[in-house]
């Protein structure tokens, strides 16, 4: 019986909602051994997190219902245990860390308290727990841990918060650590550090690591075996290398095919053309803080310029000052020869038509109480010179078809569409004003890989058809590699390097760019192993 440390057998979980019963996972079986890393890979709605939540007794019943199955931990079925027995295992023998450490840490308690609490809850005396909390904070690499132990979660960076979550989870030296998308919200270089830390800790403690992720790169980096899930079912299992190189299920093949970063890179455009946008030494200060300094770049008609950088690099500030959502404190931004920075309100209003923006999260950027028709035709309400009213309906239909949506759905509301479709609506809204330049701020970051690929295809087609220019702000390097003509790398409010995409990816000059590239993950475990070696070399060089 007790062959495996953890074995999930034939688990089926339903959720009973007002819209009917959802079969979240159906007949799922997998196992995890000591010292092993198992990845559960899937897109949103695949049910990849459900079995982990069942193991941690985190599924609320109702609306959830565990229909069938066994969860064997050390040979004992968790589902046959009392709530008290399961609570005793939670945190002590099976621990879990989550995607967004800021919301998963309690904002009103010190991190020292929250880390020690896992130990006091399982019987450790307070002073011992605090001493061990300090030790753990040092182990996971929090600088000046002794000074920071009484700080609150908001006083740490995103990467540090995830380190603190890990420290907390390790308090009782668990046999199993479940990590649910532990690096999704983090910058690539921080992601690499966190994954390294998890691997080191696993080697030290021989714990079983269950990693839930949507990212094939993460799988390639750390997983021994992988379980691929789609619509609540396991479609494929195997070692990470096997699954990447010899996928058997069509879904796995499609997923691997959609991963960016392996296609052809675009040829640079002819620089003899007059640029549509020319930014010269633009700067933005907030009080004493310089968010953007001496940023200069150009965008040609029909060109895609990607701005990459980690959080705090100034890439969003650049977009905001360009669109005059914030006022630049220095420099100029010439759009077809006219300076956006000094333009008066009337001129700016007219020009807003030509520069449009698509935001990261279409759920938030589309008004939930407006129908798609209202959302798109609002452009014509604001700029009535574009189109007489009797032609609005036909134009909205045309725009919806242009972005690959069904024109007959125009009176539906945003919540009736999927995430990818909502982003298409946002793109249609931007197109309604017939812009020449679209600023895409992490426009595909919130989407699943396969949807991401579809939206990128759409953007490419629109560029060809309409001659659009894109300023594409992104943190995902493989995506940029496939999509951009030119790449601008930013760090700490400055542009550190820019050039044609092939130059940046194949022959980066700056150490920062090299670090960034080495930290980005490749879906092929063998390529990724080489990349990791390179990353560690770079680290040692520092």
């Amino acid at each position: 019986m007790a062959d495996h440390l953890l074995e999930v057998r034939n688990l089926s979980v339903d959720f009973h909602t007002a819209q009917g019963t959802v079969h979240a996972v159906r007949d799922v079986s997998w196992h995890l051994d000591r010292g092993e890393t198992l990845a559960i890979l899937g897109e949103s709605g695949s049910g990849k997190s459900v079995s982990a939540s069942a193991i941690m007794n985190l599924i609320d019943c109702p609306p959830g219902e565990i229909v069938s199955g066994e969860l064997l931990f050390d040979g004992q079925d968790l589902l046959k245990m009392t709530d008290d027995q399961r609570r005793d295992l939670n945190g002590r023998r099976i621990a879990m860390i989550f995607q967004d450490p800021l919301s998963h840490l309690n904002p009103v308690y010190t991190v020292g308290f929250q880390i020690s609490e896992i130990m006091t809850a399982h019987g450790s005396p307070k002073d011992e727990a605090r001493a061990r909390a300090l030790e753990l904070m040092e182990r996971v690499g929090i600088p000046n841990a002794a000074d920071k132990i009484d700080s609150y979660p908001h006083e740490f960076s995103g990467g540090q918060r995830q380190r603190l979550m890990i420290a907390m989870a390790l308090g009782m030296k668990p046999d199993i650590l479940i990590a649910d998308e532990p690096t999704t919200a983090l910058d690539v270089t921080v992601q690499a550090q966190i994954l390294d830390l998890l691997e080191e800790l696993q080697a030290e403690t021989q714990m079983g690591l269950l990693l839930i992720t949507h990212d094939l790169g993460v799988v390639a980096e750390v997983a021994d075996r992988v379980v691929v899930m789609n619509s609540g079912e396991i479609v494929e299992t195997g070692t990470a290398t096997q699954v990447y190189h010899n996928p058997t299920h069509p879904y796995t093949k499609q997923l691997i095919g959609a991963v960016p970063g392996t296609g052809e890179m675009a040829e640079p455009m002819d620089t003899a053309i007059k640029p549509i946008l020319e930014i010269n030494k633009m700067g933005k200060k907030y009080g004493a803080f310089t968010a953007l300094q001496d940023a200069s770049l150009t965008v040609l008609p029909g060109e895609t310029v990607a701005i990459v950088g980690e959080s705090g690099s100034g890439k969003s500030t650049l977009a905001k000052t360009l669109l005059r959502l914030e006022d630049a404190t220095s420099g100029e931004a010439l759009y077809q020869g006219r300076d956006l920075v000094t333009m008066d309100a009337a001129e700016l209003f007219a020009l807003r038509r030509e520069i449009q923006m698509v935001f990261q999260d279409p759920t938030q950027s589309l008004n939930p109480r407006m129908s798609v028709y209202d959302i798109i035709s609002e452009a014509f309400v604001i700029h009535p010179e574009i189109l007489p009213k009797e032609k609005w309906t036909a134009r909205v239909q045309e725009l919806l078809e242009q972005v690959g949506l069904n024109a007959s759905h125009m009176y539906r509301y945003p919540h009736q569409f999927s995430g990818g479709q909502r982003q298409r609506i946002a793109i249609a809204r931007a197109l309604a004003l017939e812009p020449k330049l679209i600023v895409c701020d992490e426009a595909v970051s919130a989407l699943d890989v396969s949807i991401q690929a579809q939206v990128i295809t759409l953007l490419n087609r629109l560029q060809e058809e309409l001659g659009l220019s894109y300023l594409f702000i992104a943190h995902d390097l493989p995506l940029v590699r496939d999509f951009a003509h030119r790449v601008v790398v930013m760090q700490g409010g400055r542009i550190v390097e820019q050039g044609p995409v092939a130059q940046i990816f194949d022959a980066p000059r700056e150490t920062y760019t090299r670090n960034l590239l080495a930290a980005s993950l490749h879906p092929d475990p063998e390529v990724q192993a080489a990349r990791r070696a390179e990353r560690q070399d770079l680290q040692e060089a520092v």
Partner: protein
Amino acid sequence: MTAFLQKRAFASLISLMGLVVLVFFLSRLTGDPTTLYLPVDASLESREQFRELHGLNDPILVQFGRYVGDLVQFDFGMSIRRSAPAIDVGLQAFVWTLQLALITMTLVTVAAIVIGSLAAFHIGGVFDRIATFFSLIGASAPDFWIAIISIVIFSVGLGWLPTSGTGTVWHWILPIAVLFIRPFGLILQVVRGSMVSTLSSAYVKTARAKGLRNKPIIFVHALRNAMLPVITVIGDQAAALLNGAVVVETIFGFPGVGKLMIDSILQRDFTVVLAAIMVTAVAIFVMNILIDILYAVLDPRIRY
């Protein structure tokens, strides 16, 4: 924090000054004091004498100026009806009201938090339904009606409690019980709603994954986060009580500031009205500053 307190104190002072202006002129709008103080058939001379004595013949701005000058020295003048300084009369009544408000709000807060939290934890369960049912009744029942009914039942019918006045512990029970009901119902609803959302938050999920028991999950992790909106409502309700529970104090003959204000307004005893208003206003400003401090204590992200 010190800078914040100074700023708040200064802002409060400006508001107080506005209040002084408003109250002085509004109270003059309610009628001429001589017609009220003197008999209907009082002679013109005696009326004139009365005006002269109380400075009512001076232009209204002069009267106001004199008033403000006295106020700065905490001199509100003498009560016309009671032969005592107005400020003493106001403070005396306020102490009664303060005691009543403190006891009532402490009971309300403790009860609403405990019951509201448990209702939120067992959302949809029997306990939640009962608590919600009674809190809704409490929040919507008119207090004058409850006051009268409770006198009918407990004082007249059963003879357990005195009908009105002060003196023994028994005198306090009915006023407190009646004042308790409405804020309790309201605050319980706010606690419940706030707890429902914090109990479904990500950090509560973390707490469950850590293997914590229900009690620390509810009362340590969820409650402190849920308290922020609750405090706002508690402050609001406490302010209403500090202002004098006019109806309840009048029905129970409780010598608090609410009853004093009503009596003084009816008697055109302006000095007492103004003194009572200033005392309660200062108390409410102080309470609001305490609430701001409490916010910062509960939530380390709030720093002034």
